[in-house]
């Protein structure tokens, strides 16, 4: 693992050095205090808008992700209806699988948290974590079936994918026990909740898909610079969330007492905690590679350094997507601090991608990204 880490860091440093020297000859001068894009050269960035590329990016990179998400959410609604008609073990498993497909489809859009996804906090309506258990329990106290309107009025803490996970998965109960809770006297209310949350989720995702499918979608990028800043900036934030929130924090790597925090894993109830990370990277690959963004960077910021960085980043994406995930329930692995080379590899690979964005792509593509100001303070 140490060797692997060194290779990553070595690649990062050497590519950066090449990049800096080739992007701007003055960077090669060690007496210069400036080693990334400066006020002067960022200012020369084109305010132009490559309408043709932006259309291509939206059509081939972004729209398919939201289309798949909407399809998954429709299937989720259908399976929730089926389950509530007949609360069998098979139907519960089908519903859980549909929920998982929707969760992963949503996680594939994690690097697209701007524009329609964040307008009116849409992303929190789709996936707010952790769910507000007391609000959900309050809804279960209803004496009549719950409606979409009732769930919408309850707020984001009782909506979306995490709320569904809370009622569909329970580590304290067997599947059969959980199934019984849908059959008891209160089971009808619980089922109506699952249906209402699923329908509201589908409605919200439909709005999101419609916004990106609109002929006006390209207006979401004012110009090339905004596109570069958003795609690279949001990719960085997504990767930072993985390393900090989805891995470092639960694993307790930076904990004062080195204690692990399995409840801080995202989707710990369902066991999807590591799958969602792979989905985050798949989404990044769909936009950056299939959407042509890396090729656009290569074309618009031509240099050997860019070529090297782009090839390396694509390779790293593919390797993470193909890597074998840790076996077993993530909660248990983290709780018991079970050493796993797959967990170490996941941490190192995501960190490598994060540094690839920060130290290479952002610099080469002159994107607005900084240690201090990313996300503002």
């Amino acid at each position: 693992m140490i060797l692997f880490q060194r290779q990553l860091m070595g690649l990062s440093s050497s590519s950066l050095l090449v990049a800096l020297c080739l992007v701007n000859p003055s960077f090669a001068d060690t007496s210069s205090v400036s080693s990334t894009p400066t006020a002067s050269n960022t200012a020369t960035l084109s305010m132009a808008k490559d309408e043709t590329f932006i259309q291509q990016l939206i059509t081939t990179g972004i729209q398919p992700l939201y289309r798949e998400l909407e399809q998954a959410s429709q299937q989720l609604t259908r399976t929730s209806t089926e389950f509530c008609k007949e609360s069998s073990l098979d139907n519960l498993n089908t519903l859980r699988a549909a929920w998982g497909t929707t969760l992963l489809a949503w996680q594939r859009t994690d690097s697209l948290l701007f524009g329609p996804a964040t307008a009116e906090q849409m992303d929190f309506q789709i996936n707010f974590a952790p769910p507000k258990k007391q609000i959900i329990k309050g809804l279960f106290a209803s004496d009549k079936p719950l409606t979409v309107e009732a769930v919408a009025a309850a707020g984001v803490g009782a909506q979306g994918l995490s709320s569904l996970e809370y009622v569909l998965f329970d580590r304290e109960q067997t599947t059969e026990q959980l199934l019984t809770s849908f059959k008891e006297s209160s089971g009808q209310i619980r089922c109506s909740y699952v249906q209402a949350v699923s329908r509201l989720l589908e409605q919200n995702i439909k709005k999101l898909n419609a916004a990106w499918s609109s002929p006006d979608a390209s207006k979401l990028f004012t110009n090339n610079q905004e596109m570069v800043d958003l795609l690279i900036g949001k990719a960085y934030q997504s990767l930072e969330r993985i390393t900090l929130k989805k891995l470092t924090q639960p694993l307790g790597t930076l904990d004062e007492k080195k204690l692990s925090h399995p409840y801080d894993l995202e989707a710990w109830r369902s066991g999807y905690s590591f799958k969602i990370i792979q989905a985050n990277i798949e989404g990044l690959q769909r936009v950056f590679v299939e959407g042509g963004f890396l090729a656009w960077i290569d074309k618009n910021f031509p240099s050997e350094a860019t070529k090297t960085a782009v090839v390396s980043f694509e390779k790293q994406l593919n390797e993470l997507i193909q890597m074998k995930l840790p076996e077993g329930a993530p909660f248990t692995l983290v709780e018991q601090k079970q050493a796993s080379k797959e967990i170490d590899e996941l941490v190192q690979r995501t960190r490598g991608l994060e540094m690839g964005v920060k130290r290479q792509l952002a610099i080469l593509a002159k994107a607005q990204l900084g240690f201090n100001d990313n996300d503002g303070d």
Partner: protein
């Protein structure tokens, strides 16, 4: 100044040898001179760092949270305020290695800055009472770090707080932005944000005065108070920069007067990318200098002419403090660099003092000399 002048001046002045800078500095260094700042290493671990300008030694204490502003208490001890939304601040002793954490009261989080009373018995911290959507100035006993009470900040998102030279008044930068820990750092009220500069009576918490800027999207974030009671304000623009540039990014309030934006041409303000971080004031030169990380420069403003002067390129400039030598400043950046900015004399120059390649300095820098 036209853009070409901006660039030309920048190009002319950014080159400098570390040797020359260090020679200059050596002549000016008093018996003890240390810089303090939050920092991260390449692994993402968080530290509060102390750099001795005389010995060139760096000392680091790992902290359980990412810090924002540091406040040196004496040569060996410093406070580090957690970056918002923070649930931990620390007091560290560089000599013993002791790190003491302190937490906010329930339903509150720290916002990254704090200051001391004149007698150094009280610590004031900017905090948010997120359950009730209000800004708070927390009051603690500096010796025990235990909370003693709190004041309203009379605005949302108090970010920076400083003690006025009268020792009786606090000045608070209310950034105006609503956030909630449930939504991490998401800005929830951009359309309705109302930043303000508020003066509070230190002994009662009573609001003494409140100032606003003409553009409500200019978040009032960082402050520097002069010994005369003038207040410099570094601003951050929350509008869409791809569609609209702010009219300025620095506000200045001469003691006893109103709060005014300093002038800057539209093509110049565009270079700064809507975001100023740390800011300091040199009364002798009547210059304000601000770290401008998104614009990758250090921006210089004149209070004499009430306008922008120039920007010197520096990748991800982060912290800034007054320098040891007259007419100089010390600057850090997130690529591990420490620099000396010389503004006195005919030519403004920015010279490297030391680079720590595996270290990223965070947004503020404090000099204790």
């Amino acid at each position: 100044m036209q853009r070409r002048q901006f660039l030309g001046l920048a190009t002319l002045t950014v080159f400098g040898s570390a040797l020359a800078a260090n020679e200059l500095l050596e002549r000016a260094i008093p018996k003890s001179a240390k810089l303090y700042s939050a920092s991260d290493n390449a692994l993402g671990e968080h530290f509060v760092s102390q750099f001795d300008l005389r010995t060139q030694q760096l000392q680091q204490q790992q902290t359980p949270m990412r810090g924002h502003a540091a406040l040196a208490l004496d040569e060996n001890t410093a406070l580090l305020f957690g970056r918002r939304p923070a649930y931990t601040c620390v007091r560290v002793n560089f000599k013993t290695g002791l790190v003491e954490s302190f937490k906010p009261s329930p339903d509150r989080h720290f916002n990254g800055h704090g200051c001391l009373s004149t007698d150094r018995k009280l610590l004031f911290t900017t905090e948010t009472d997120y359950a009730n959507k209000r800004g708070i100035i927390g009051i603690r006993d500096l010796s025990t770090l235990k909370p003693l009470g709190e004041y309203e900040s009379y605005g949302l998102d108090p970010h920076d707080v400083q003690l006025m030279p009268d020792g009786k008044t606090l000045v608070v930068a209310n950034g105006g932005i609503e956030t909630h820990p449930d939504f991490e750092r998401r800005k929830l009220n951009i359309n309705t944000m109302q930043p303000s500069l508020v003066y509070l009576d230190l002994s009662t918490g009573k609001k003494l005065a409140e100032y606003r800027l003409p553009d409500h999207l200019l978040s009032i974030r960082h402050l520097h108070v002069s010994t005369q009671g003038d207040v410099a304000v570094a601003l951050q623009y929350e509008g869409n920069l791809y569609k609209q540039q702010p009219s300025s990014l620095v506000a200045w309030q001469k003691a006893g007067e109103g709060l005014n934006l300093l002038k800057i041409a539209p093509q110049e303000v565009a270079q700064l990318r809507g975001y100023l971080a740390d800011i300091v004031y040199d009364p002798k030169q009547e210059l304000l200098v601000s770290a401008t990380p998104r614009g990758h420069c250090v921006s210089i403003w004149s209070t004499a002419t009430q306008s922008f002067v120039q920007a010197l390129p520096l990748a991800e400039a982060s912290g800034i403090s007054l320098g040891l030598k007259a007419g100089s400043f010390l600057v850090s950046n997130s690529q591990g660099g420490l620099y000396q900015l010389q503004t006195a004399g005919k030519q403004t120059s920015l010279n490297e003092l030391k680079i720590f390649p595996e270290l990223a300095w965070d947004n503020h820098l404090m000099l204790l000399a």
